[in-house]
């Protein structure tokens, strides 16, 4: 207390821009929690990836054997291929649809607020619930409807087709992810000053020209943020896939997060820790990318 009262405004410490030590004390709880709950387990996981541990009991060091096995494992390579491809497609679908909807929901239409609420609804439903509902629709309703209409390609469940099951996952993931993306785009579009549009209208710019030359360039920062955050989230896909296909048919839709988690239940702990380490490095690269990009935009 004495220290604080002495460091009143005008004191030398404040002038030199030095921060009072009390402020650092406030960092301690957060730092301790983060270290204990995130940093330490992560370091332990990396440590175990160089052993043959099954998660408990005795283990011995095995060097980089887990990593060698990992890179030659077609299931793991398949999981990376599927996850990255799925994330790219989903991010494109989500942002395209969300951007169009956001334009519609910011236009001068009736019941704007009510419509926005409707479009945002999927956001509040848990992913696993959405997945089970859609699972039923894809397995029963859709084939029945296709059968009644005589549309042969959809008479068999989409989820049972190893080549097309990912499409179903993209649809459901997009359905859940679009609302939050819409919200960011609405904020971005509403932030554009109205006088820019007025000037464009006076110069005779058409609506599509205004979209191309004003709306899109002036929301570029929001698009970038949505794309990067979305991509990072879709790389971590888990619950919707578990509820829809559980990684199948075969292993065609097993995501990286799913294969890592299976290490806990299948006594394959150290191997999947090696997988997690690789995945962590990829996430790190994306995070740095995001940091660079968003820092540039924020100051602009």
């Amino acid at each position: 207390m004495a220290v604080v009262t002495n460091a009143l405004p005008g004191g030398k410490a404040r002038v030199r821009g030095r921060v009072d030590k009390t402020y650092y004390a406030f960092l301690v709880p957060g730092l301790v929690l983060f270290t204990l709950a995130i940093t330490l387990p992560a370091l332990m996981g990396i440590f175990y990836s160089f052993t043959n541990s099954v998660g408990y009991g005795q283990f011995s060091f095995s060097g980089v054997i887990n990593y060698i096995a990992l890179f030659s494992d077609p299931t793991i390579r398949g999981a990376y291929g599927f996850t990255i491809g799925f994330a790219l497609v989903t991010v494109a679908v989500v942002n395209f649809v969300a951007f169009l909807l956001a334009i519609g929901l910011t236009a001068r239409i009736r019941a704007k607020v009510a419509l926005r609420a409707v479009f945002v609804l999927p956001m509040v439903v848990s992913g696993i619930v959405i997945a089970y509902v859609f699972n039923f629709l894809f397995s029963n309703s859709l084939p029945a409807a296709a059968g009644a209409l005589g549309f042969a390609p959809l008479e068999q469940s989409l989820l049972a087709n190893p080549d097309l099951a990912w499409v179903a996952i993209v649809i459901v993931t997009a359905w859940q992810a679009i609302p939050s993306t819409i919200l960011i785009y609405i904020a971005g579009i509403l932030a554009i000053p109205a006088d820019v549009y007025e000037a464009a209208a006076l110069d005779g710019a058409s609506a599509s020209r205004q979209l191309r030359s004003i709306t899109v360039p002036l929301t570029a920062g929001y698009i970038l943020i949505n794309v990067i955050i979305g991509f990072k989230n879709f790389l971590n896909s888990y619950d919707i896939i578990v509820g829809l296909t559980n990684g199948g048919p075969g292993t065609s839709t097993t995501s990286i997060a799913m294969s890592i988690f299976q290490g806990f239940t299948n006594g394959d702990y150290s191997y999947q820790m090696a997988n997690a380490t690789i995945f962590f490095l990829i996430a790190l690269v994306i995070a740095f990318l995001q940091l660079r990009v968003t820092r540039g935009k924020a100051s602009a």
């Binding site: 009991g57 005795q58 494992d73 469940s157 087709n161 199948g248 048919p249 075969g250 290490g263 394959d268």
Partner: protein
């Protein structure tokens, strides 16, 4: 001490006397059913099979009535691996005996029960099944308690209606399937959506009907990292014929098998929508929920043309064990002995559609299981191949791929690769 309080204590009022008398009386009454004092040992009993937790609670209550020195606390939620790591495992375990138990057995975490008279009563045909899953040299680590046998469930009424006899060879099975298809009835109802149903049914039945499973897996383990196209045994060489049978069998199944799950299968078979269903006795209770009058029989799936090859798939559904780390082994043994009393043990297996594990076990009680009795008596049974492949390898997913029409060759090649990679890193 407070003066006032000491004076109250000195004069025993009528009220406090009554309270005291009541407390003593209640204590005596409690002592009758729940002894708490010295000489009572509390043991924890781990049972994880969700269907029978209530059943065992009743058995524990009965056990408490027979004696007053051991109290059993049932646990069905702990994390077993974590308990072993903390050196505080349950005093008595009663679990499904599969790959998840291997580590505990092979690292010597379970105590030797060979000196118990109950160990000597076990049917010697069942001991190899236990040892094939996991073994610690020189020890009886577990006592098998319940054996479930699975094969083809068939609708007796449909078989009678179309004059189909129980097939004992592959050709007879194909002829039976043709008869049913001609009558517009799906011979099999398959459920590829739930991968485990494919692994335990199509995959295990065809492999078990063709291959000597213990010898195959023993050779496979000795090959280790070199399992592949050039090794002595491999999935791609030895499982190819069985997987061809899987592909043939899928053509006898319902058209929507790809999008049907276990629940759908139970419903459809109970409604008489198929003549046969590749499921184990655990489905019988579910089938009865839909159709109590369903007339079900069982027979082993013929996959060769030699009736001598017929076998049923079994697994040690429950096995009893006492950890080395338990400090109350004697008390745990007394409850184990109680559970192994013939009247308790046989009643459990009769009530839960299982086969016994002792030499003097009576025949299976449920008439639906009668078709498998002969094979059980002759020890014509095998452990499912999918249960002997470590769970780190997604064999059920691979079986699903083949059922959905993938070419078996590349899938089996991947299985070989998985096996050798796992051998490399463990």
């Amino acid at each position: 001490m407070h003066p006032q309080r000491s004076s109250t204590a000195a004069h025993l009022s009528r009220r406090s006397f009554l309270v005291g008398a009541g407390a003593i009386g209640a204590g005596l009454a409690l002592a009758g059913c729940a002894p708490q004092g010295a000489g009572v040992t509390e043991i924890s009993f781990y049972i994880s099979k969700p269907e029978v937790i209530g059943y065992f609670d009743t058995l524990i209550a009965k056990f408490h009535k027979t004696q007053s020195t051991v109290r059993v606390i049932r646990d069905s939620t702990s994390n077993l691996s974590a308990d072993f790591v903390r050196n505080s495992p349950p005093d008595l375990g009663c679990l499904n005996y599969n790959f998840s138990m291997v580590q505990f057995v092979e690292r010597g975490a379970l105590s030797d029960l060979s000196d118990m008279p109950e160990a000597g009563r076990i049917n010697p045909d069942i001991t190899p099944l236990v040892k094939a899953t996991a073994d610690y040299p020189g020890r009886t680590s577990v006592i098998p308690y319940s054996l479930t046998a699975a094969s083809v469930l068939y609708n007796k009424d449909l078989f009678a209606k179309y004059g189909v006899a129980i097939p004992t060879t592959w050709d007879e099975l194909a002829a039976a399937a043709a008869t049913f298809m001609a009558a517009g009835i799906s011979p099999f109802f398959n459920t590829y959506k739930d991968t485990w149903t494919v692994a335990q049914g199509l995959f295990d039945y065809t492999v078990g009907g063709m291959i000597d499973i213990p010898s195959f897996f023993a050779k496979l383990r000795s090959e280790g990292t070199s399992v592949g196209s050039s090794s002595r045994v491999s999935f791609q060489k030895d499982f190819e014929a069985a997987m061809a049978r899987v592909s043939q069998l899928t053509s006898y199944a319902n058209k929507d098998a790809a999008s049907r799950g276990y629940g759908d299968g139970n419903l459809a078979f109970a409604q008489g929508k198929s003549a046969m269903y590749l499921q184990g006795p655990w489905a019988l209770g579910e089938l009865a929920k839909t159709n109590k009058a369903l007339n079900i029989g069982t027979f082993p799936l013929p996959v060769t043309n030699d009736p001598a090859d017929l076998k049923v798939r079994v697994n040690v559904d429950l096995a009893l064990w006492i950890p080395e780390a338990s400090t109350k082994k004697a008390a745990a043994r007394s409850f184990l002995s109680y559970l192994m009393r013939p009247e308790i043990h046989n009643a459990y297996n009769a009530d839960n559609n299982a086969f016994g594990t002792t030499k003097d076990a009576p025949p299976a009680a449920n008439p639906a299981l009668a078709g498998m009795q002969k094979y059980y008596d002759d020890a014509a049974f095998y452990l499912g191949a999918s249960q002997l492949i470590p769970s780190a390898i997604p064999v059920a997913n691979y079986a699903q791929s083949i059922a959905l029409g993938a070419r078996p060759g590349p899938v089996l090649e991947q299985l070989d690769g998985d096996w050798s990679r796992l051998a490399l890193r463990s």
